[in-house]
Symmetry: C2
Subunit: 354 residues, 2 copies
DNA sequence: TCCGTCCCGTTAATCGATTAACAAGACGGT
DNA sequence: ACCGTCTTGTTAATCGATTAACGGGACGGA
């Protein structure tokens, strides 16, 4: 016997397909009698209800929203920022019984003709979703563009010209960091950012045009906070992971002109930086100051000076924007707070080992 | 202008819908000429490619697999076991460009007539997926049943009679724990399990019929390992969370007959237990022994004796079973290893405070 | 008796795409 | 001149459901 369908049940039960549809979707439209018959026949055939794909096509609703990240999916599950955000988002989707589609995409291939892009963004094209949350991705990002082309409502956690977004004021937060460091006398700062590359790929001199939107903003803020005279260098060790922080730290510490402070774009990166400082017998906060971002769970135990942002709220609000029609806000700015701990202290020039 | 479709593009370009479909899916079937024309017209209309729902229906493929957990979605993102498993799973889905649909379901309502169940399991019905991974859920679980009814290929991480599964030998692992404790002279052990309830709900005497499949097996193993004469009590403080461990620990420590050891069903629960021990001024491993399960990242720093299981591999293998046609294994057993650290030690009877 | 309401089931159009089978023309070889 | 083979585009059936609009019968009130 082939797979049962609405029609096969209808035929066997001697009713129209409409009746079967109603039996499952609008019980009140049918007499109890007929409904029971239909359900019985359905059970007999092993028909468990209307097919998801068929229903999706006909109703134009998927009952699910998509999520895309700056970071590879398999890695996302170890990123505290992403996890907190997803947790908040899930609170909302759970309540509305909405599925969460985690979409993998791979932009390793930089070949950008229309076809290659379609291929690589296949999953973004094929996702059956009613809306999407784009975390950390700007308007220009290919995956965001695909979603926009598909006319799928989208909420971003980065500034957007046309769409809706929930953001933290990364620039102001950067300014707080910069000012804090400036106040401690730091004038030579290395900024550690994440890049889409695998962890462990050292980039001694980052092209600022390729930064994630939030990185650009934080960097700008740090510059502003430090004032015009500070020397600033931007390095990367790959995607947001401790290993990348380690690689970036080695980059920063190599050579003669060691910076007096290292500002990492996330606590995860900062934790890697701290690892390497210790390996180099440099005391964080004394020999070299270090800052992070997020105030992830790992930050407090490490004594890391960082910027707290309400990560879970971010997810929650993005979810509400997408799923709660009553919530019409188009742009929400979340507060941040500089949390000073022990990894920052007065600038101290490296002693010459000559 | 209405939303562009395959047909609207075909009409405007003066070709058949088949041609348009081929233009996007099988470029080689068309002359470069015609293809370019079609793509141009598509771009003009803002048509970004075949609609996902339509395509899904027609091809019978969704390009995504579902995941269901024992635990609520919003909580899943803070469960180290789940995260490791998901990470492994994502490695596989990423490679095959397959989406990951996290399905929320809510069984708070115990009313179980066919309709209420359909309602509550709505998301499981509606998910557009090609297969599913069920973590920790047995054949009898409603959500698993729905998936089975839908004839969706499913891989479980619990024993199954008909389907495929990737499991750890929980019973043997339990035996290891039991034997380890027995070897240290423990004869009075409280087992802490997770239940579907919110954290913080004390259950002083758990009905063993309601346990998750893995808990049942571990418990059986612990009994076997301890030998027939040991006194065993099973308590719960709610779903897998530190708070539940705390509540369960209070339950275990209350009253006169304090156990000499507490065996928790996960490291997360164990961490809560350790919290409370400290609060009661009891030294883990000296006054009371504690064991966990999983060897999650938190275990080593806490000195927790636990059973290591390859969580990430579990996800990876479940993914392969579902997505790699060459992988025909039907049941895989993963190894476990008892990791003895400092939270277990020789049994010591509580001193009477009379 | 007549008519307005309900109740409940049916008719039929439609959602947006894929793909086997076919056919027309081009091409090359003998 | 003839025929097999490619190449390239079309025809048309099909995937599985939803829902506005319709209509026949029962029922109640005047």
């Amino acid at each position: 016997m082939p797979r049962p369908t609405l029609r096969s049940v209808a035929n066997a039960a001697g009713v129209s397909t409409a009746a079967v549809s109603y039996a499952f979707n609008r019980p009140d439209r049918l007499s109890a009698q007929v409904r029971t018959q239909i359900l019985a026949e359905a059970r007999r055939q092993g028909y468990s209800g209307p097919d998801a794909a068929g229903r999706s096509l006909r109703t134009g609703r998927a009952g699910a929203i998509g999520v895309i990240f700056t970071v590879g999916l398999s890695y996302a599950f170890s990123d505290p920022y992403v996890l907190a955000m997803l947790g908040g988002l899930a609170e909302v989707t759970e309540r509305t019984r909405t599925g969460l589609v985690l979409i993998p995409f791979d932009l390793g291939t930089a070949g950008l003709d229309d076809d290659a892009r379609r291929q690589s963004l296949d999953a973004v094209h094929r996702a059956v979703i009613d809306g999407a949350v784009a975390d950390g991705l700007g308007d220009g990002h290919p995956a965001v563009r695909v979603l926009a082309d598909r006319k799928i409502p989208i909420v971003q956690s980065a500034e957007t010209t046309a769409g809706r977004c929930v953001v933290t004021d990364d620039r102001a937060a950067g300014r707080d960091i910069g000012a804090h460091l400036a106040g401690l006398g730091h004038t030579d700062v290395t900024v550690v950012v994440a890049s889409p590359a695998e962890p462990g790929v050292p980039v001694p001199d980052v092209d600022e045009g390729t930064l994630y939107p939030y990185s650009t903003l934080r960097l700008t803020g740090i510059r502003e906070g430090l004032g015009g005279t500070a020397r600033i260098r931007v390095v990367s060790g790959g995607r947001n992971a401790p290993e990348s922080g380690r690689v970036a730290a080695d980059l920063a510490l190599a050579g003669p002109g060691r910076p007096t402070a290292i500002a990492a774009d996330s606590d995860v990166l900062a934790s890697g930086v701290l690892d390497r400082l210790r390996a180099h017998r440099l005391r964080p906060g004394t020999d070299v100051s270090v800052t992070g971002f997020d105030d992830a769970p790992l930050a407090a135990p490490a004594g890391l000076t960082t910027v707290r942002q309400p990560m879970r709220d971010k997810g929650r609000l993005m979810g509400r924007m997408l799923l709660d029609p009553a919530y019409t806000e188009t742009r929400v700015v979340l507060p941040t707070e500089l949390i000073v701990r022990s990894t920052t202290g007065p600038a101290r020039l490296p002693e010459r080992t000559s």
